[in-house]
């Protein structure tokens, strides 16, 4: 079984008006099946309200399924006594770095997680060091988190998760609030953790160019997985993605526009090198 497996997962919540009367039921997740293998880099796309974050919150047991379930390393998220173990295996990083950092000093912040797991003090410091090195923030270990840039703060948040030795990290729009450099830093850190440490990454994002190196891309709409494939396959479907309120990377878009003008260029171009090659071939 894969490291994360969702089976017929559904999540409903009740909408209430001002007085608390029931107005209706929203089915935020509607029968999702997916299986993620250990060591994969997975991207999840979808418009606002498509159910991406709700899905993510099931993977580390922040939400309880209405129907179906999610297994993390074979553990059922519905089992109350497994919750802590699941959260340690599947760590989560959110959009706003300022909401996730609690320590006065970077290294204290990173040590918070393992400390709560009851890890021995000496081991905590070892983990803090290796985690900060993994995200390239070791030299900032004595700094105050307040003085860091957004990208640096977000990398500290990621280090805080790594220090708990997770098998899988779920990043929910980690770059939405960052400048171009900060975005690059965070994506680079996520890729390195995946490639060097073999940590499974699940990246939720609205930036299409961040997912071109993913192993698989899932696209969500109305609580369902409506597309699944390699980035090349997914981004070949420009018009469909548009209808789902999504986009493609600029290079893919340019290739698509040139193709519409009658040029012989394949769909699903993901890098500028591919595009240059394709245009060169045109006689």
């Amino acid at each position: 079984m894969g490291i994360v497996k969702a089976v017929q997962l559904a999540f409903e919540y009740i909408r209430r008006d001002e007085e608390g009367n029931v107005e209706g039921i929203t089915r935020a997740i509607d029968g999702v099946n997916l299986e993620i293998e250990e060591g994969q880099f997975i991207a999840v796309l979808g418009h606002n309200g498509s159910g991406k974050s709700t899905l993510a919150k099931h993977i580390n047991a922040l939400l309880h399924p209405t129907e179906g379930t999610v297994y993390v390393e074979g553990m059922d998220v519905r089992e109350a006594d497994k919750v802590w173990e699941i959260r340690q295996r599947a760590g989560m990083v959110f959009q706003n770095p300022d909401n996730q950092i609690i320590g006065q000093v970077v290294e204290e912040d990173v040590g918070f997680g393992p400390e709560n797991l009851g890890v021995e003090t000496k081991t905590i410091w070892e983990r803090v060091e290796e985690s900060l090195r993994a995200v390239g923030m070791y030299e900032f270990r004595k700094h105050s988190p307040n003085k860091l840039s957004g990208g640096q703060k977000q990398r500290v948040s990621i280090a805080g998760v790594i220090a708990m030795h997770p098998k899988c990290i779920i990043l929910d729009e980690p770059t939405a609030m960052l400048d171009p450099n900060g975005r690059k830093e965070v994506i680079r850190a996520a890729k390195a953790l995946n490639q060097v440490e073999g940590i499974t990454i699940i990246l939720i994002t609205h930036y299409m160019e961040e997912v071109i190196h993913a192993d698989y891309v899932y696209v969500m709409d109305q609580g369902k997985v409506v597309m699944k494939g390699k980035p090349k396959e997914i981004f070949s479907r420009v018009e469909e993605l548009r209808k789902l309120r999504l986009d493609v990377p600029q290079v893919t878009q340019l290739a698509h526009e040139l193709r519409k003008e009658g040029l012989d260029i394949p769909e699903g171009i993901l890098t500028k090198e591919e595009l240059v090659e394709a245009v060169k071939k045109i006689k």
């Binding site: 909408r15 001002e18 979808g46 418009h47 606002n48 309200g49 959009q95 840039s149 957004g150 990208g151 729009e173 939405a176 609030m177 960052l178 400048d179 171009p180 450099n181 900060g182 975005r183 690059k184 609205h206 299409m208 160019e209 548009r242 309120r245 999504l246 986009d247 990377p249 600029q250 290079v251 878009q253 340019l254 526009e257 040139l258 003008e261 040029l263 500028k272 090198e273 595009l275 240059v276 245009v279 060169k280 045109i282």
Partner: protein, 285 residues
């Protein structure tokens, strides 16, 4: 009618150990009707700068003129200034509070002391301009989607009928279609009403697509101030200060490197497409 900044400096924590110069000798002229992109890495001074434009912060040195008057003079009516220079903060939907969408947008103009009828007319118009559908007017703002909430918050500022509209990352966290819709709406509004728009953004692609002029901030100073195609030519310098050019710029550079094009001024997909097509045509013909 314009905004002029003359040698504006802002120093936080002066006379303490924590002294930080957030703005250093900034000189800018912002005439009416421009669509300006303000870019810079986190901490470059963008937010400090925009808070000076409607008097939320006062310069520690230098002067800011709005329509010829020093906005930090004691006798200057800063309340009026704030209705003329409207500021939409990051995640403005966090500031929604009223029972209905319509009432929320009425709040600003009501505080200007306008008659009820005028208040309602303005709210109606602003909601339309921000692209909020009429059927949502009497819903609770908290029941709306993220993109809709953000439009309502923008409408709240538009109802003040500002001459200058400043938006601090209005598309953060929105899906691609939501980004295009909001920026498209703002562009349309700017064209129709000729107001000045200052867009603070971290998306170089959005900036390239929508604005006429880019101001780049770095370490509290203005690094570049020019048309997008000129600013993005300096992509190496932009990278040094934590920014980048739109992806299109890099794509066109690859074409140049391969000897395909000799130069490129494209900063948008449309422009890039035209350059490539015209090159291919020449090659054929």
């Amino acid at each position: 009618m314009s905004l002029i900044l003359e040698n504006v400096s802002h120093i936080y924590g002066e006379d303490t150990d924590m002294v930080v110069a957030a703005l250093k000798e900034v000189n800018l002229e912002i005439p009416d009707g421009q669509f300006i992109g303000l870019i810079g890495h986190t901490g470059s001074g963008k937010s400090t700068l925009i808070q000076h434009l409607n008097g939320l912060l006062q310069p520690t040195k230098g002067t800011i003129y709005f329509n010829g008057q020093d906005i930090n003079e004691k006798s200057y009516n800063r309340k009026e200034l704030r209705s003329k220079v409207g500021l939409v903060f990051q995640y403005p939907e966090h500031q929604l509070f009223e029972v209905t969408v319509f009432q929320d947008v009425c709040f600003g103009p009501k505080n200007l002391g306008l008659e009820q009828k005028e208040v309602e007319m303005r709210a109606y118009k602003a909601l339309k301009q921000a692209g909020v559908k009429e059927e949502l007017f009497y819903h609770s703002p908290f029941d709306l989607s993220g993109g809709q909430k953000r439009r309502v918050a923008i409408a709240g500022v538009l109802a003040m009928e500002p001459q200058v509209l400043i938006l601090d990352e209005p598309t953060a966290g929105l899906d691609p279609a939501g980004r295009d819709e909001i920026l498209g709406q703002i562009k349309k509004l700017q064209k129709e009403t000729k107001i000045t728009v200052i867009l603070v953004s971290h998306s170089m692609e959005d900036v390239a697509e929508y604005v006429d002029r880019i101001i780049v901030m770095n370490r509290g100073e203005v690094l570049f101030d020019d048309m997008p195609k000129e600013v993005f030519k300096e992509y190496k310098k932009l990278e040094e200060v934590g920014l980048a050019a739109p992806q299109v710029t890099y794509i066109m550079n690859s074409f140049i490197k391969e000897g395909f094009l000799t130069s490129s001024e494209a900063t948008t997909i449309q422009e890039a497409k035209e350059e490539i097509l015209s090159f291919l045509k020449k090659k054929k013909g």
